[in-house]
Amino acid sequence: MEVQKTALYNYHKNLGAKFVSFAGYEMPIQYKDGIVKEHISTRTYAGFFDVSHMGQFFLEGDETLAVALEKIIPADLQSLKLNHSKYSFLLNNEGGIIDDLIITKTPKGFCIILNAACKDNDVKQISQILDTKHKYFLDNNLSLIALQGPKAVEILEKLIPGVAKLKFMTGDYFKFDDENLYITRSGYTGEDGFEISIPNLKVEKLMKFLNENKVHPVGLGARDTLRLEAGLCLYGHDLNEKINPIEANLKWAIAKRRREEGGFNGWEKIKDLITNGSEKKRVGILPEGRIIARENTKVFSETGDEIGLITSGTFGPSVNAPVAMGYVNKDFAEVGTKIQLEVRGKKHGGKVSELPFFKKSYVK
């Protein structure tokens, strides 16, 4: 398959980005500043991320569209208010997670932001549950820029007045350069900020403005350290088709009405797990000292029994310590439980921790 590039590829290149192949795209992993500086500047000022590799999937239809989508998405889509967003997932028949996503109610239907590596399969899965009168398309003419950090609102308000009024997990259309941009107050870094859906032809103009306001670009490297500190899952690592939302500690993302009424893929299994608990559970893990427990690090109990596996682990620049998450047996999932981590053949101490590792307050 040919390697794909976002509309900003040359822009990244000129900024000295190092590229990495990610989900079929050549994406910047870091720029000249490096991951730690990019991470810290996002937490203390603002940073922007080119996330145009993600799928912007639009669905159009009448009220039957929400009903149809509820078969595969366990959010309460029938009562989702216009311009409101929810974090949710696509489920298979066993309740496994096909992808995690953000779904927003638009005037014509819904917009779903899908992971790049999953988007083609997602579209296939979703199209199978739709009626012929529902329309759908992945819009490849749009870029997606995330502006994240404590100064994000102040900076974007200067360019696009009105965005400051958006509450977290809501969106709206805003005028920019004769275009109608859909902007949501959201993100995946644990910071306040926006995701801006903008035509490919206009995206460099937005970049120019952000540069003038000293907002630096942030690569996938820091995006990973930021989301992990914020306790957020990365699909393909912390979530996959064999993991269900209860194990993943994402029960909160299944709407209350849906938990009671069911009617979505894997509900029988999920209902059983809600009542009886799951065998394993996703937890935060803090290694002792500076040892980094990366993905696939084995987790042991204090008495030496193997109890789980790390699914994401790195050094958290804002926590200033190594951070990780993974799945452990339910008996060891309580916060504070001491565990051991096998790194390079040696066991090192650690403990089950609360998530997120780094707390921030969103604007509600």
Partner: protein
């Protein structure tokens, strides 16, 4: 400091008397990015030429550090274990990884000199 020699795995080594000092090159730190964890060998440990001797981790990944020459470890550099970021700021100076007692000086002589190493890096960009 005395003359440095370089390995293809991007370690440098310098020798004074029968003591060798080993670290990673500036080029290596640029490839690794921000260094956040370092593990150095314990005193008394024997290391072989091109054998794994230390560990360095950046925000991105973990990498082994190999000893360019054989010998017995005299000392690991505590200061980079306590503050791994120092490796990025002074990789070919104060942020050496370990010192060892040289077993065979000819191993040192067979390594690349500065000019050869720079050429090697230019021809093998990563």
């Amino acid at each position: 400091m005395s003359e440095k020699r370089f390995s293809k795995k991007h370690e440098w080594v310098s020798i004074e008397g029968d003591t060798a000092t080993v670290g990673i090159t500036k080029h290596a730190t640029e490839m690794l990015g921000d260094i956040v964890f370092v593990e150095v060998p314990e005193q008394g440990k024997s290391v072989e030429k091109e054998g794994q001797a230390a560990v360095v981790e950046s925000t991105k990944a973990a990498s082994d550090v190999y000893s360019p020459i054989s010998g017995e470890i005299i000392e690991g550099n505590k200061s980079i274990v306590d503050d791994p970021g120092n490796v990025n700021s002074d990789p070919e100076g104060a942020s050496w990884f370990f010192k060892l007692k040289v077993k065979d000086k000819s191993e040192f002589d067979s390594l690349m000199n500065k000019e050869e190493y720079d050429k090697f890096v230019a021809e093998n960009p990563s």
